[in-house]
Amino acid sequence: MKMIALTLAASLMVPVAFAQEDTFEQVFNQQRALYGKGHAFTYAGQPYTTDHPEEIEAMAEPTRANAEALITSAEAMRQESESLGYEWRDPARFLKQARTALSENEYQRAMDLAARAKYQARMSIAQYESVNASWQQAVPE
């Protein structure tokens, strides 16, 4: 009986131990994949949400100035991605739509689209950095 209790206790401990070994990025990505944006979770005792930084930027007050600022910063990140030769298909498309929304005074829509463009551009730059460090691993030896 004691052995069963010990085994049960140990098995309950294991997931906790594994969870503590996960990095914040792993936990964030897992939570995001499971629950989408806007979900609250804790990591190392601290509260977080599954929102990307760009989505948090898009939560600012929907004004022309905020929309223009987000479009400008997204465009800068897209251009950086382009200069690296790693531009993805959609950021330019989203930015075009964001500018159209801005011209129609739809500030929240413009900010949401710019946030999507900026997120993807940031991910493409991260891809470039990751590939530079790891492409060699794919080569057969």
Binding site: Y86, R89, Q127, V131, W135, Q136, A138, V139, P140, E141
Partner: protein, 288 residues
């Protein structure tokens, strides 16, 4: 029995020696060894698809997927590129307005030279492709360059490839010009680098992904990729160039595609064709 053992040992040693040579290649100008890369790629496919002779890889997916092969064999009873080939020959032999022709721009009158392309041009410090030189020939003789992806350029290239059928690819990387080796290395890096929102490299689909379904499609092996271009693709419904396919693949990863004949694509072709050294030219071809 003794003889069989000896043969098996020989094969084993051959495989081991290939692996040993391949292991010496690297990822910098100082360490990269193109021949070791080529042997390692061959060894990869020999292990992945045992029993498929190396020379079969010029047939792409049809070398390694029996069901696709049956369909392709039926298709090839009346090769869909035959009219393009005839038109290509006619275009090739039609003089420009100034009386000169394509034959005047190329070694051996442009006949039987496909296996030497792409090559490293020392003077220009860049990789030159056959399609690039076809258009340069036109411009030099006062003609407009042709669109890169399809149409007449693909047809002329198809005819020139046809005159090289059966000739073995012999792409060279001049040892006395490190820029050539750098171009090869850049092409190698491009091939193995993930890109686009879908995070895919050429190698993802055409190395480990060979003959693994991507939706309803079966990607072909990278070994032998450039040997059969230009191709009539069923999806295109017409003949197209290798760089048209590169552009499409690139777009499929959800990247902003590079244009045909971009520096990166020419280096990729240099790397890929070097990997096919020893295989024969069998273009033009027909693919799904």
């Amino acid at each position: 029995m003794q003889k069989t053992k000896h043969s098996l040992l020989s094969v084993g040693f051959a495989v081991l020696s290939h692996a040993a040579v391949a292991a010496e290649s690297g990822f910098t100008l100082e360490t990269v060894d193109p021949d070791a890369d080529r042997l390692a790629l061959q060894a990869f496919y020999q292990q992945r698809f045992p029993g498929v002779p190396l020379e079969e890889y010029v047939n792409g997916i049809y070398a390694i997927d029996p069901d696709s092969r049956k369909q392709w064999d039926a298709l090839m009873e009346f090769p869909p590129y035959e009219f393009d080939l005839e038109e290509g020959e006619e275009l090739f032999n039609t003089p420009f307005a100034n009386g000169q022709g394509y034959a005047d721009c190329f070694e051996n009158g442009g006949i039987g030279i496909r296996q030497k392309y792409p090559y490293w041009n020392r003077e220009e410090g860049s990789v030159k492709t056959l399609e690039q030189e076809i258009n340069e020939c036109r411009v030099k003789n006062g003609e407009e360059p042709l669109p890169w992806k399809k149409g007449d350029l693909a047809k002329v290239s198809a005819y020139m490839a046809f005159t090289s059928r059966g000739k073995v690819f012999e792409i060279e990387i001049p040892a006395d010009d490190s820029r050539a080796l750098q171009a090869y290395l850049d092409g190698k890096e491009f091939f193995y680098s993930k890109r686009g929102q879908l995070n895919l490299s050429c190698a993802n689909c055409h190395l480990k992904g060979s003959r693994i379904h991507v939706r309803a499609d079966l990607p072909g092996p990278a070994l032998g990729h450039p040997t059969h271009f230009p191709v009539v693709r069923s999806k295109w419904g017409e003949i197209g160039t290798l760089h048209r396919r590169y552009e499409g693949c690139y777009r499929d990863t959800r990247s902003v595609p590079l244009p045909p004949q971009a520096d990166e694509f020419r280096k990729l072709e240099y790397f890929q064709t070097y990997m096919s050294n020893g295989l024969v030219v069998n273009g033009p071809g027909a693919r799904k």
